[in-house]
C-alpha cells in the first residue's frame, strides 16, 4: 500500500519537474537544466523515452530468466512470472517505440528512419509479438510454458547478433547518448538526478504492475485448479 503511494507520488513529482524546470544555455541555479543543442525543449522526452526502453529490455530478460527456471523446476508460478514480465515488457516496448518515434521526429524530421536503435526496439516488439502469438497457439498448459521459454531462449540468444550487424548495415542517426562514456557526461547534476529519478520511478511503477499481475495470475491459477475436475 505504502509502496504504491510512494511510487505514485514520486513519478508525479518527476513528471512535473521534467516538464517544468527551465532549460537555459548556461545553467546557474540548482534547478536549471542544460540545453541540448539541436533538441532544446524537446530533449525532455529523454526523461520518458530512455526508462521505457530500458524497461522493455528488462522485461524480456526477466521473462527469459523465469522461463529458464520454469524449464528446470516446472513450477507453474515461474511460467506466470515469465508471461507477466513479457506482458509488462511489451507494454513498455510499445511506449518506447512511440516515444522513440516522437524523438526521431523532433531530431531529424521523420517519425521512422531505420537507424540501429529504432530498428532494435522494433525487433524487440516483434519478438514480444511472436512470444504471445506462440503462447496463444498452445492449449496444454505445460507445453505452453515450455515452448514459450524455449522461444525466449532462442530469440534471446540471437538478439546480440543484431547489435553487431546493425552498425555495419546503416550509418547511425541516433545521437550519441549524452550519458554514456566515461567523463563525457554532458548532463549537469540536476538533469542527471532528474533522469535517474525518472528511471527509478518508472522501474518502481513497472515493479508494482508486475507484482500485482503476478498475484492476480497466481490466484486465478489456484482457483481454476480447485474448481477443475
Amino acid at each position: 500500500m505504502a509502496f504504491r503511494i510512494a511510487v505514485g507520488l514520486w513519478l508525479t513529482l518527476v513528471v512535473i519537474l521534467s516538464l517544468s524546470l527551465p532549460m537555459v544555455a548556461r545553467p546557474e541555479h540548482w534547478y536549471d537544466l542544460p540545453i541540448v543543442p539541436g533538441l532544446e525543449e524537446k530533449a525532455r522526452i529523454l526523461f520518458f523515452h530512455v526508462p521505457t526502453a530500458w524497461l522493455s529490455v528488462v522485461g524480456f530478460l526477466l521473462s527469459l530468466v523465469y522461463g529458464v527456471r520454469y524449464l528446470r523446476r516446472r513450477d507453474p508460478e515461474d511460467d506466470l512470472k515469465s508471461a507477466t514480465s513479457a506482458g509488462i515488457g511489451f507494454l513498455f516496448c510499445v511506449l518506447a517505440t512511440v516515444t522513440g518515434a516522437i524523438w526521431a521526429r523532433f531530431s531529424w524530421g521523420t517519425w521512422w528512419n531505420w537507424d540501429p536503435r529504432q530498428t532494435s526496439i522494433f525487433v524487440l516488439l516483434l519478438i514480444y509479438g511472436a512470444y504471445f502469438a506462440l503462447r496463444s497457439a498452445i492449449e496444454v498448459e505445460e507445453k505452453r510454458g515450455t515452448l514459450a521459454a524455449v522461444y525466449a531462449i532462442i530469440a534471446g540468444v540471437t538478439m546480440p547478433f543484431f547489435m553487431f550487424i546493425m552498425p555495419r548495415v546503416l550509418s547511425s542517426l541516433h545521437p550519441e547518448p549524452i550519458l554514456n562514456t566515461q567523463g563525457k557526461i554532458q548532463m549537469n547534476a540536476t538533469m542527471l538526478i532528474l533522469f535517474l529519478s525518472s528511471l527509478a520511478g518508472f522501474t518502481g511503477l513497472a515493479y508494482w504492475m508486475w507484482r500485482l499481475n503476478v498475484r492476480m495470475e497466481v490466484l486465478l491459477h489456484r482457483h481454476h485448479g480447485q474448481s477443475g475436475a
Binding site: E139, V140, E141, H224, G225, G228, A229
Partner: protein, 209 residues
Amino acid sequence: MSSPLHIAGAGLCKVFNRRQVFSDVQFQVSQSERLLITGRNGSGKSTLVRILCGLLTPSAGSVVIRWGHEVQEVERPGVIGLVAPYLQMFEEFSAIENLQLAASLRGYPFERGRAEHLLGRVGLDIKRKDAVRSYSSGMKQRVKYAFALLHRPPILVLDEPMANLDADGVAMVREVMEEQHQERILVVATNDLSDCPRADAQVNLDGRT
C-alpha cells in the same frame, strides 16, 4: 536371488491440464514375470503405459529399469518393445522397410534374414513391397508386432494386444506372449482379462483419481 532384469514404478501420478488421471501407482516386475494393467476406458491405462515406456513424463514418481545396471534414458529404446493402437508405423514405407527403420533408428545394424523370418512369423507376406498405408488394420497390427520384436526386447509392452486381429493373429500373439514370459518381462494393458489370464503383478487404475 535378485534378477538382473527388473522394472519398478513408484509413486506415479499424472495430471493433464489440471485434471488428475491417476495417483500413487506402483509396481514391481522381475524377470519371467507378467504385469497386467487394467481399468475402465479413460482410467489412464495408456497414460501409464506411455510413462512406463518413457514416452511421457510423470507429474510425480519414477520408473526405474534395471538390467544388470540401471538402464539410462538413452539406452531405453534398446530395452523396450511396444505394441499399441496409438503407436504409428511409418506408413509411407513397406513392412520390411519399417523393420529396417526399427533397427537403424535405434542405432543397430539391420539383420535382414531375421527381419524376414519375423515377418513370416507374424503372418505377413515378406514379398510384399507396398506401403503399410495400404494394409488392413489387422495387418498393420501384425507389422507392429514384428516392429516391436525385432530387437528381442527384454521388456515387451502390449496395449490392447488383440486389437484388430483375427483368430490366427490372436494365436500368434499368445505364442509371442508365452515366449516373452519365459525369460523376459511382459506388460499387458487391457480391458479384457482373458487377454492375460495369469499375472504376477497387477495394477488396477479404477478409482485411483
